[in-house]
C-alpha cells in the first residue's frame, strides 16, 4: 500500500499562510451507473435470446426448415449476444476495487479504479445500444412471418436471377465508363471555354455559361428522355441511327458534363495567380500556361469532387430505363413483376454500392501517393 499522499487527509492543515497542493476530495464511489449498466445489458441479452428463438421458429416454418447450419449459427449468435456482459462485470469488479481502496485510505488508487469502472459501464451501455438496434433490425426482418425477408432478400430468387441481373448491369457499367471518359474531356473543354479571356472570349464564355446553367438545372431523367426519344424522331442523318445506348451516353454526358465543368473551373480558379505570373513571365503562352502549369495542379485539387460527381453519374445510369434500355434496374423490375418479389432489385442495389467502394479507396490512395511524392512525407 503506498504511503499517504500529502494533503490527502483534509484535516492535517499545514501552518497558515503556506500553500500546499491538495490531491483533492475522495472520489464518488456511487454504484448507480454500474448497476444500471448491468441491468440494461442483462435485459438486452434476454431480448436477444428471445429474438433468436423467434428466428429459429420462423425458419422452422419455412419449406427448408431450420437446418443444422442455421442452428449452429443461431447458437453462435446466442453466445456472441452474451459478450456485452463482460464490460458490465468488469465495471462491477472495478467499483468494488475502488471501495476497498477508499476504505484503505488510498485516494489515488480509488480514483483510478473508479475511472476504469465508469469507462467499463459506459462501454457496456454503448454496446448494448448497438445490440438493441441490431435486434430491432432482425425483428423487422422476421416480422409478419418473415414477410420483409421474403420480399427483399429471397435467397433462391437472388441466386437464380443473379446471372441475368449481372449481365444487364454490364450495360450500366458500359454506359458510365464511356460517359466518364468523354466527360473528363468535355468538362475540361467547357471549363476552359468558361474562362476564355478578354473581349474575344466573351461570346464563348457566355455560351459555355448558358450550357452549364441549362444542363445543370435540367433533371437527368428529362435529358435522357428528350434525347433518347427525341433524336430518333427528328430523323437527322447519322444521329438518328445511333444506338439507344449512345443516346443515353450523350444525354448523361451533357447533364453530368455541366457539373464536371464547374468542378474543373473551380480547380483551375483555385490555382493562385502567381503561378500564372511565373509561367507567363517565362514566355509561355496562355494555352501553354493552362496546359503545363494550371491544369495539372488544378486537377489534383478536384479529384475528390470529381469522384463524387462520377458516383452520381453511375447511379444515374439506372435512369436509362425511361427510354426502355434493359439495364440492371430494368431487368430487375421485370424479374420483380414476374415473381411478385423485389429480391432481384436488392441485388442491383448491392451491385451499385459494391462498385463505388473500391473507386473511393483507389482515388484516396492515388491522392495520398501524389501528396507524398510532392510534399515528401517519407521522413
Amino acid at each position: 500500500m503506498p504511503s499517504k499522499i500529502p494533503g490527502a487527509s483534509t484535516n492535517e492543515n499545514p501552518s497558515a499562510g503556506e500553500r500546499h497542493f491538495r490531491a483533492g476530495t475522495p472520489p464518488n464511489t456511487s454504484r448507480l451507473l454500474t448497476y444500471v449498466a448491468l441491468l440494461v445489458c442483462a435485459a438486452v441479452v434476454v431480448v436477444s435470446w428471445l429474438t433468436l428463438l423467434e428466428v429459429r421458429a420462423a425458419l422452422s416454418a419455412t419449406s427448408q426448415g431450420a437446418g443444422t447450419i442455421a442452428n449452429v449459427l443461431l447458437a453462435a449468435s446466442a453466445l456472441v449476444a452474451i459478450l456485452i456482459m463482460y464490460p458490465a462485470v468488469q465495471g462491477l469488479r472495478t467499483t468494488q476495487q475502488a471501495r476497498r481502496a477508499l476504505s484503505a485510505g488510498d485516494l489515488i488508487a480509488a480514483r483510478v479504479a473508479m475511472a476504469e469502472s465508469r469507462t467499463w459501464s459506459w462501454t457496456t451501455l454503448g454496446y448494448s445500444t448497438a445490440q438493441v438496434l441490431i435486434v430491432l433490425a432482425i425483428l423487422f426482418l422476421i416480422a409478419n412471418d418473415l414477410a420483409v425477408s421474403r420480399t427483399f432478400f429471397m435467397l433462391p430468387l437472388i441466386f437464380s436471377s443473379f446471372g441475368l441481373v449481372l449481365k444487364a448491369f454490364w450495360i450500366n457499367v458500359y454506359i458510365f465508363m464511356v460517359a466518364e471518359a468523354i466527360i473528363l474531356v468535355w468538362g475540361l473543354v467547357v471549363a476552359i471555354a468558361q474562362l476564355a479571356p478578354g473581349a474575344a472570349g466573351k461570346p464563348i464564355r457566355l455560351i459555355a455559361k448558358a450550357y452549364v446553367d441549362v444542363f445543370r438545372g435540367l433533371p437527368a431523367i428529362i435529358t435522357i428522355y428528350l434525347i433518347g426519344f427525341g433524336i430518333p424522331l427528328t430523323g437527322l442523318p447519322i444521329l438518328k441511327d445511333l444506338s439507344q445506348q449512345s443516346f443515353v451516353i450523350l444525354a448523361l454526358t451533357l447533364s453530368s458534363g455541366a457539373y464536371v465543368a464547374e468542378i474543373y473551373r473551380a480547380g483551375i480558379m483555385g490555382i493562385h495567380w502567381s503561378q500564372t505570373s511565373a509561367a507567363r513571365s517565362l514566355g509561355l503562352s496562355y494555352m501553354q500556361t493552362l496546359r503545363f502549369v494550371v491544369i495539372p495542379q488544378g486537377v489534383r485539387q478536384i479529384i475528390p469532387p470529381l469522384l463524387n460527381s462520377f458516383i452520381g453519374l453511375q447511379k444515374d445510369t439506372a435512369l436509362v430505363n425511361v427510354v426502355g434500355a434493359v439495364d440492371a434496374f430494368n431487368q430487375a423490375m421485370i424479374i420483380a413483376s414476374n415473381h411478385y418479389n423485389l429480391s432481384a432489385v436488392t441485388t442491383v442495389a448491392i451491385l451499385f454500392v459494391i462498385i463505388t467502394i473500391p473507386q473511393a479507396r483507389f482515388v484516396e490512395r492515388l491522392a495520398q501517393r501524389d501528396r507524398r511524392r510532392l510534399r515528401g512525407a517519407e521522413a
Binding site: 502567381s274 505570373s277 511565373a278 517565362l282 514566355g283 501553354q288 510532392l374 510534399r375 515528401g376
Partner: protein, 269 residues
C-alpha cells in the same frame, strides 16, 4: 528578337540617341499605372544601362513590384512608354511572349511549379518556348543547377527544398531562358535571415559576370555593395537617383533621408 519599332516621339526622355551603343537597355518614360482610383506609378522615368545593376529602394507600396511587373508585361501601363534597346515594349502591338523570353523575372515568393521537379521547372520554358532538344535543355539546366550548387536536388520537388534553395532554383529557371536582363522583385524578403546570403551570393556572382539587373530590395547593405545606381521610389515616382555613395551617403531629397533614417533605426543599415 524584340518586336515594336523605334518610337517616333521620344517624349520626356529627351534626346534621341542614334547609335545603338548609346541606347539604354531599359528605358521608362513617364510610365503611369493605377489600380482603380489608386495611382501606383506616377510618371516614372528610369534608365538601366547595359551591364548595370540598378537597385530600387523605397517604402512598401511605393510601386517597386508593379514597376518590375510592368517591364515584364505582367501589368499593362496606362500611359508613357517602356523601351528595351529603343524598341517600344509597352502598349498595343507588342509580342509580350517575345519580350518575356528576353526579360527574366524572379518573384518574392519564388513561384516554382510545385507539381514539377526542380529539373522540370528549369527546363519547362526552354523546351516549350525555345523548343530546345530535351538533352540540350537538360544539360544546360544541370549546368545552371551546378552553378547555384543544387545539382543534387534536380529530381526533388520544390516543397522539399528550403526557401533559399527554392529561390535559387527560381533564379536558375529564369536564367535558363538566357535573358538579356533580370528583374528581381524583393527576392530575399520571404526568406529566413540565415538563408538570405546564399541567394544574394548568386546575385552578386551574376553582377560580376555582367548581367544587367534591376532589383527591388530591402537589403540596403547589399544594394550599396552591388548597385551601380540606386533609385529611391516613393508614392509612385523616382524621387532621387544616384550612385550608392550619393544615396546612402548624402541623400538630398528629404523623403529619401526620412526613409533611410527609418532603415537605420531598424538596424538594417
Amino acid at each position: 528578337m524584340l518586336n515594336g519599332s523605334h518610337s517616333e516621339i521620344d517624349g520626356a526622355c529627351g534626346a534621341l540617341r542614334h547609335k545603338r551603343r548609346l541606347v539604354a537597355l531599359i528605358e521608362l518614360c513617364n510610365v503611369k499605372k493605377h489600380f482603380g482610383d489608386q495611382p501606383v506609378l506616377n510618371a516614372v522615368n528610369l534608365q538601366v544601362e547595359e551591364h548595370q545593376v540598378v537597385c530600387l529602394i523605397g517604402p512598401s507600396g511605393s510601386g517597386k513590384s508593379t514597376l518590375l511587373r510592368c517591364i515584364n508585361g505582367l501589368e499593362k501601363i496606362d500611359a508613357g512608354e517602356i523601351r528595351i534597346h529603343g524598341n517600344r515594349v509597352s502598349g498595343p502591338g507588342v509580342d509580350v511572349d517575345a519580350l518575356r523570353r528576353d526579360v527574366g523575372i524572379v518573384f518574392q515568393s519564388y513561384n516554382l511549379f510545385p507539381h514539377m521537379t526542380v529539373l522540370q521547372n528549369v527546363t519547362l520554358a526552354p523546351l516549350r518556348v525555345l523548343h530546345q532538344e530535351r538533352a540540350e535543355a537538360e544539360e544546360k539546366a544541370m549546368q545552371l543547377l551546378k552553378r547555384i550548387g543544387l545539382e543534387h536536388k534536380a529530381k526533388e520537388y520544390p516543397d522539399r527544398l528550403s526557401g533559399g534553395q527554392q529561390q535559387r532554383v527560381a533564379i536558375a529557371r529564369a536564367l535558363a531562358m538566357d535573358p538579356m536582363v533580370m528583374l528581381l522583385d524583393e527576392i530575399t524578403s520571404a526568406l529566413d535571415p540565415e538563408l538570405v546570403s546564399e541567394v544574394l551570393n548568386i546575385v552578386r556572382e551574376l553582377a560580376r559576370d555582367g548581367m544587367t539587373m534591376l532589383l527591388a530590395t530591402h537589403e540596403m547593405g547589399f544594394a550599396r555593395e552591388v548597385a551601380g545606381k540606386v533609385c529611391f521610389l516613393c508614392d509612385g515616382g523616382v524621387h532621387e537617383e544616384g550612385t550608392p555613395e550619393q544615396i546612402f551617403g548624402e541623400p538630398k531629397n528629404e523623403r529619401t533621408r526620412a526613409f533611410l533614417r527609418r532603415i537605420v533605426e531598424a538596424g538594417r543599415l
